[in-house]
């Protein structure tokens, strides 16, 4: 009898659990794939006191080769629309006025912020990102001088989803050219909460007049317009305060030591300054040290780089160690010049993104806490930078003498 009752008790408990779990399905977050619309890129704009949020939605049937009834090749792979509101999340909630599906943000790849919105201030954007579970902080963030919506509407040839393509573009740039940093949301927020409360965000620009916003226009062999990475926007206290050009940003990357792989060209012969030799740097390290000089500060940067020779038009004999050493010195000079230009631009803009403040904080912590507030405005413009660059040329490529030299040897001019 006892055994029967226990057994009956077990069965009843299991059934009860089952019934309860069915009852709980409402709050379990179950959504089918055809109830969500995947957002691959979003844009933030600010106009007349309102936030305008734009979304780039992916149309899966148009992209995947397996769409039901065949993928319609005439259809664009994405669809863009915008909503506006007093707050960012408020604007997003208004999307249900015009969308048949719920917006799905976790697959969002990039977020494009227009210049106006950046000048207004981005703190509410960062707070919304941190607080919400479905927006990931690994998205890449970009600025743009045009409206964010136009950037989202622009298709990119060769790639299916423009949002993912732009994210891959900045990764590609960081790995191969290293002129602009790859700023993800969390990295931006970390730097803005760092010692100098300043950060730099790369900007996108549509070059050309006729933007590629339909698949008809992408059917040609050339593109009438393209999305390009251009400048570096400087953000301080959540607001945009200035711009660095591409070259200046490059110099800043050298000082920061964030060059993964890069190409440096410099003139190798003073008699022909227009002819440039090219070195590909594949490994570099930069050490920053802050030195107090009287009342001011000096940043001492030690850069060690290793590279391969890619192009060489001059006539020195590269089998001799002295010519190689001379070449290395010329490369080092060029890098030092780049770094100095970058530093000067940063000084002008009064935004320390080179890690100077961080170096001071590490070495002179007590003094740093005293001068934190005045650093960007007052002390940075009076600081100096000293560079010590050391380039090692590991390989000269697959030939030693330049072609010109071989020609002159062979009895030519």
């Amino acid at each position: 009898m006892r055994l029967r009752r226990e057994w009956c008790h077990k069965i009843c408990c299991t059934l009860l659990l089952g019934v309860l779990s069915i009852a709980a399905t409402g709050c379990s977050g179950r959504t089918e794939l055809n109830e969500i619309s995947i957002v691959s890129a979003s844009g933030i704009d600010w106009k007349d006191g309102k936030w305008i949020i734009s979304y780039q939605l992916v149309l899966p049937q148009a992209i995947s080769s397996h769409g039901m009834g065949g993928g319609a090749h005439g259809a664009a792979p994405v669809n863009v629309f915008s909503t506006s509101g007093d707050s960012i999340r408020g604007a997003i909630s208004k999307s249900s006025y015009e969308m048949s599906r719920r917006l799905y943000f976790p697959q969002n790849q990039i977020i494009v912020v227009s210049e106006r919105a950046a000048k207004h201030g981005l703190t509410s954007l960062f707070d919304a990102y941190l607080r919400n579970p479905d927006s990931r902080e690994t998205v890449n963030i970009f600025l743009t001088k045009e409206s964010a919506r136009e950037v989202l509407e622009h298709l990119i040839p060769l790639e299916e989803i423009p949002g993912a393509a732009i994210a891959r573009m900045i990764v590609n740039e960081e790995n191969n050219g290293s002129t602009l940093p790859n700023m993800s949301m969390y990295r931006t927020m970390l730097e803005l909460l760092g010692p100098t409360k300043t950060t730099g965000i790369p900007a996108l620009e549509i070059s050309g007049d006729d933007p590629l916003d339909s698949t008809r226009k992408t059917a040609k062999t050339y593109s009438s317009s393209k999305i390009k990475l251009t400048k570096l926007g400087l953000i301080q206290d959540g607001k945009l305060i200035g711009w660095l050009t591409h070259d200046q940003s490059y110099g800043v990357m050298w000082i920061r030591g964030e060059i993964r792989q890069s190409t440096v060209w410099f003139s190798c012969d003073v008699k022909h300054p227009a002819e440039k030799a090219v070195i590909k740097i594949h490994h570099m390290k930069a050490k920053r040290k802050a030195i107090k000089t009287g009342d001011g500060w000096k940043l001492q940067v030690r850069i060690a780089a290793r590279g391969t020779l890619l192009e060489y038009p001059c006539e020195a004999d590269l089998s001799q160690p002295q010519s190689v050493a001379a070449l290395e010195r010329q490369a080092a000079d060029k890098i030092a010049l780049l770094a100095q230009n970058g530093f000067k631009a940063v000084q002008e803009q009064k935004a320390d993104i080179v890690g100077f403040g961080d170096a001071i904080r590490l070495q002179y912590p007590r003094q740093w806490s005293a001068i934190t507030k005045r650093w960007n405005e007052r002390l940075l413009p009076e600081a100096t930078m000293e560079t010590d660059v050391d380039v090692v040329l590991e390989r000269t490529g697959m030939s030693t003498d330049s072609f010109r030299k071989m020609q002159s040897k062979a009895g030519g001019s």
Binding site: M1, R4, R5, W7, C8, S21, I22, A24, T25, S28, G29, R30, T31, E32, L33, N34, I36, I38, S40, V58, P60, Q61, I63, S64, H66, G67, M68, G71, Y104, P106, Q107, Q109, D134, R136, I161, A164
Partner: protein, 524 residues
């Protein structure tokens, strides 16, 4: 006694007597009568005038006045033996009729079969008759001599149907228990090979034999097994599964706790590991117990191939088992609850496939799984002539057309097919059946609660499995109670020169199998 409420509904019902069972031995035993005609008539009546009950009366010139009869049941005897070993010697026997110990002389000196005996009771005589022995009656004597002439048409030793190997012995057990024991004896030729047989089943009187190795198997487990077999009281035993269900530990679990095989080499290897074999007359499948979870993933061929490929295949089997249990549930859970876990190109591809599908993912998965189970069941019963038709129907009509009609998505078809195929990788069908059942439960849980539901189900399963016991041996040994020595052989196949220990969990008695010695070649 009045039972109230729940007890009434779930309480123990009064047991009704079931059917008309033959009287147990222990009712009044009937002796044979001295008159030969009476005996023969009694036997014929008890057999219901069966037309295959043959009586051969013998009158010998050498012994006039002596009336003898040989009775047997045609079909279960070897008729040549009767002619040669029973009737002929009797007919050429000359002995004075008044001789004392006539029966004994008949039994020991005349009948030339290997086994002979004598019987004085009707019940015993009937049983022997039905076992294939023949009875020799002499008028005037209360006892009959029996000669073991059992035989008849049997299936010869052939290749195994289910567990075939590429390299290794190619014969399997047959339905005759003596042949089977003989096959095992030919592999294990020591005196430690012990065997005990029982007769189970009131109407079938099936011989069930328990075999074990004397110094290796745990005597307590042997005793427990024999005790459980002795307690079986049933109408008839047709297959070893009847025994398995009776003697398994009473746990409501889909997991099998005893293995079965039709290969003698697998059975012999199990005996050497300390396991106990149960052979049932009438079935080529023998039972092996106690068995842990990891035993079910070992195949005979693992030991006949090199250890590196066997290890890889064994790991593959574990992986395939996990896939066959978890893959559909994971697919449902991730595509309906956790889309953020997928990389974007995959998500877009899946989303494109699901556009226009009328069913939610859970319903789709259940439909496809049930369809596959139907196909599988149909394939078992289908005559070989229309075999290709089923594969065409299954593949083209149900798979391809359903996808093109927009009823299911291609990804789901892939998931279901791969799951089904991985299900076949498990060597033991009983374990594969368990995974089929568990898969459905996990799919429902995944559809309700996503990965949380799957984890809850898996946790429940793990707790259940670690609590299972197979004849006292924990089901998840050597991992649940830890026996580190046998870990290598459970997960991968240890090379034979390294396998020093038997599976300690199963036999605690004699763990050392051999002196471990790594092969060394002579230098120089």
């Amino acid at each position: 006694m009045e039972q109230g409420g729940i007890e009434r509904v779930f309480g123990k019902k009064k047991t009704k007597p079931y059917g008309q069972m033959p009287k147990q031995a222990g009712g009044k035993p009937e002796p044979l009568s001295p008159g030969i005609a009476d005996n023969l008539r009694m036997l014929r009546d008890k057999l219901g005038n069966s037309s295959d009950f043959i009586i051969r009366t013998i009158r010998s010139d050498a012994m006039p006045g002596v009336e003898m009869a040989v009775a047997y049941i045609k079909g279960i005897v070897e008729e040549d033996a009767i002619h040669r070993d029973v009737i002929e010697p009797i007919m050429s026997w000359a002995a004075p009729p008044g001789q004392s110990s006539w029966i004994e002389t008949l039994r020991q000196r005349v009948v030339t079969t290997g086994a002979s005996g004598r019987t004085a009771m009707v019940e015993d005589a009937l049983n022997r008759l039905l076992d294939g022995q023949c009875l020799i009656f002499t008028n005037g004597f209360r006892e009959a001599v029996t000669a073991d002439t059992s035989g008849g048409e049997q299936r010869s030793v052939s290749e195994p149907n289910t567990q075939t190997v590429i390299r290794g012995p190619q014969y399997s057990f047959t339905e005759n228990i003596s042949t089977n024991i003989g096959l095992l004896r030919r592999i294990i030729r020591t005196a430690d090979f012990r065997m005990r047989s029982y007769t189970i089943g009131r109407r079938t009187r099936t011989t069930v034999a328990v075999l074990y190795m004397h110094h290796i198997a745990d005597p307590a487990v042997v005793q427990e097994m024999e005790q459980r077999i002795k307690e079986i009281d049933i109408d008839g035993i047709l297959e070893s599964n009847y025994i398995e269900e009776f003697i398994s530990d009473q746990t409501y679990t889909p997991f099998p706790t005893m293995m079965n095989t039709e290969r003698p080499d697998t059975a012999a290897s199990a005996m050497l590991d300390g396991q106990i074999i149960i052979l049932v007359d009438g079935s080529p499948f023998c039972l092996i117990g106690p068995a842990t979870f990891f035993h079910f993933f070992r195949s005979a061929e693992d030991n006949y191939q090199r250890f590196d490929i066997s290890s890889f295949l064994r790991l593959l089997r574990y992986g395939a088992f996990v896939v066959s249990v978890l893959l559909p549930s994971l697919f449902i859970a991730i595509t309906t609850f956790h889309q953020e876990m997928l990389p974007t190109p995959l998500l877009i591809s899946l989303a494109a496939q699901r556009e226009g599908i009328p069913f939610p993912a859970l319903v789709e998965a259940l439909l496809m799984e049930l369809t596959f189970e139907v196909l599988r069941e149909a394939g078992v019963r289908m005559p070989r002539a229309i075999g290709p038709a089923i594969s065409i129907v299954g593949a083209l009509v149900l798979g391809q057309s359903a996808v093109q009609a927009g009823l299911v998505s291609p990804a789901m078809v892939i998931v279901v097919s791969f799951t089904a195929i991985s299900n076949f990788v498990t060597p033991q069908i009983s374990m594969a059946s368990a995974s089929r059942l568990i898969r459905f439960t996990l799919m429902l849980l995944a559809g309700l609660l996503g990965i949380f539901g799957i984890m809850a189900g898996v946790l429940f399963l793990m707790i259940h499995m670690t609590g299972l016991r197979s004849f006292g041996v924990p089901y998840m040994a050597p991992f649940a109670p830890v026996y580190r020595q046998t870990w290598p052989d459970m997960l991968v196949r240890q090379p034979w020169w390294a396998r020093v220990f038997r599976l300690v969990a199963v036999s605690g008695v004699n763990p050392h199998r051999q002196r471990g010695r790594k092969p060394r070649h002579q230098k120089g």
